[in-house]
Symmetry: C2
């Protein structure tokens, strides 16, 4: 099934992504072209407090042209470990440090076009470190209880892949 | 929270994606730059047979540099309705037409960087139309029962966002 790369050329280099075009040979010997978005990878955090409530953030997403209700997330800095990134982003976005952090899934959000990997963590035993998280983050923090999360899911209020996976994991792993 | 676009320029135009850079004004009046991957959108289908088993496909994904176990999916053709695309892709990939098709979620796989929307459908009342689906699709069809899906999820065999969402939906909506 593998595709063998016989040519590649970089077409775009931005601050975050690069785009390359590849010429590949398929298993039947035919050639094909591929466009790939290279991305540094990211983390997302499902932060659960001692009562079982979850912290979400609302923020404007230019690609979506709207405000989305998401779990906290952020891109990996160069050479940064996913765990360190998760702790940094959680504190930056909601002002808490987790004493417990556990990887739920590592997945490709869009494997047909991008090499982005997203590391999704469950964070618990949360300890408050800042009264007011970074104002530069331009986001609003929302805390939802289990029933509110079920309702928001049914009403279609979660509209991005990492948040849907995190919410289903949360509901599924804690029984119906 | 909204970001107002004051400048945009196209940096790459491929067969599938385009990349644009935007200059935006934030709510506090400061300016920022954004890189956005424009994508035609896609569908994914959770095909459930009369015994409750699910069809998956295995295929090589160049961006991921590996073979992934996914639900059937494909990009929207120009002006194609998501429902029509779901029916077309399902027949192309597994050789079945669904008599029942229902939208589960429409979501952004990667809302920080791309405007791609993925429409996820549940397909049932499946009717076989082809003995051997397109050989050009380069994929292997796998059918998994509920218990096998639970096991594959725990073992980390689902590695992309649409498949994880579909599998959690399937397990969650049918009880633990």
């Amino acid at each position: 099934m593998e595709e063998r790369i016989i040519e590649e050329s970089e077409k775009y280099r931005g601050r975050i992504i690069r785009v390359k075009e590849y010429k590949v040979v398929l298993s039947n010997g035919r050639e094909a072209k591929r466009e790939v978005v290279h991305h540094p990878g990211a983390v997302a955090i499902l932060p659960i407090d001692k009562n079982g409530s979850v912290f979400f953030v609302k923020q404007y997403r230019l690609p979506a042209r709207k405000v989305l209700l998401e779990i906290p997330a952020g891109k990996l800095d160069k050479n940064e470990k996913p765990e360190d990134c998760a702790i940094r982003e959680l504190e930056e976005e909601i002002g808490y440090i987790p004493k417990k952090l556990c990887l739920i899934h590592a997945f490709f959000p869009s494997p047909g076009i991008s090499d982005e990997i997203l590391y999704l963590f469950e964070a618990s035993d949360l300890e408050k470190t800042k009264e007011n998280p970074d104002e530069d983050e331009y986001l609003e923090i929302i805390t939802l209880k289990r029933d509110e999360i079920k309702k928001a899911l049914l009403e279609g209020n979660f509209e991005d892949s990492k948040t849907l996976i995190a919410v289903y994991y949360y509901l599924y792993s804690r029984g119906n």
